[in-house]
Symmetry: C2
DNA sequence: ATAAAATCAGTAATAGTTCTTAGTTTTAAA
DNA sequence: TTTAAAACTAAGAACTATTACTGATTTTAT
């Protein structure tokens, strides 16, 4: 299982670090191909999964049926626009105290929570108003 | 678009109301077939989607790649066991004040939030301890 | 240098869900 | 109560995102 270096994995990680918009595997693939046209989609998926498993990136599941990836692994929350699908970081305080609330009347062990917010992003909100 | 009655839809809704474990489309299909062996999986999917769209049931996306359905549409939170995959209702107060927190430094419009918790359910917790 | 292990590209396979088609029910109105 | 339009159905094809398999290639510890 010893991890070996791979140019493909470096490329994927480097690309992801340049982006703040939480791209999907397919978007990563299309972009990374511009540097390495021979890279395969399977390699992109495998490495995204591997990087997520070792904690170097985060996998986001936002209910749209597609996994998004984020090079920013610090705890933070996301907003999903239900009109254009864009995913945006939110500036807000940590709310993980809700885990204690959830555990108060629960017999199992709660390890964590998944929270994201949805609505209209700034751009889509403007378009709605002007129509 | 006027909704017409359908025996299949009734059957699906009735089945879902008997369950508190948030079954998937496939589980609904397998069970509903015992009453109507000719029902098709597509019909189950179509009606679950329709019922969710008109608000009679809730569609839950819990990050496991499968949609779960819930006849209880009142606002409440869910726990997902990462070991056995079971989905359990949590008894806890409403936490939708987090929406205001999230909107404080955000330029768009936040309509709602998705939150669920994960960890080990009561049964799986016991099994871990005894191993 | 070399060889075991990890990785790769390419492609087939899978899972969950939606779409298409041709025929069947439902329902409002004649 | 016929009737005909609209909604609905079963069956299965198609689609999307993802994972698994293959034999060849790269990495790295010796």
């Amino acid at each position: 299982m010893a991890l070996k270096h791979s140019k493909q994995r470096d490329l994927i990680k480097e690309f992801l670090m340049t982006r703040k918009d939480h791209p999907t595997a397919d978007v990563v693939y299309m972009n990374v191909r511009q540097q390495n046209p021979n890279i395969s989609l399977g390699t992109v998926y495998r490495n995204l999964t591997l990087l997520a498993d070792i904690g170097e990136i985060a996998r986001l599941r936002l209910g749209d049926g597609v996994d998004h990836f984020d090079a920013d692994t610090s705890p933070h929350y996301h907003f999903v626009c239900t009109h254009c699908g864009s995913v945006i970081d939110l500036e807000m305080d940590d709310i993980s105290e809700i885990v204690a609330q959830a555990g108060a009347n629960f017999d199992g062990h709660i390890e964590g929570h998944v929270t994201y917010f949805y609505g209209s992003c700034s751009d889509c909100k403007k378009k709605e108003l002007s129509s």
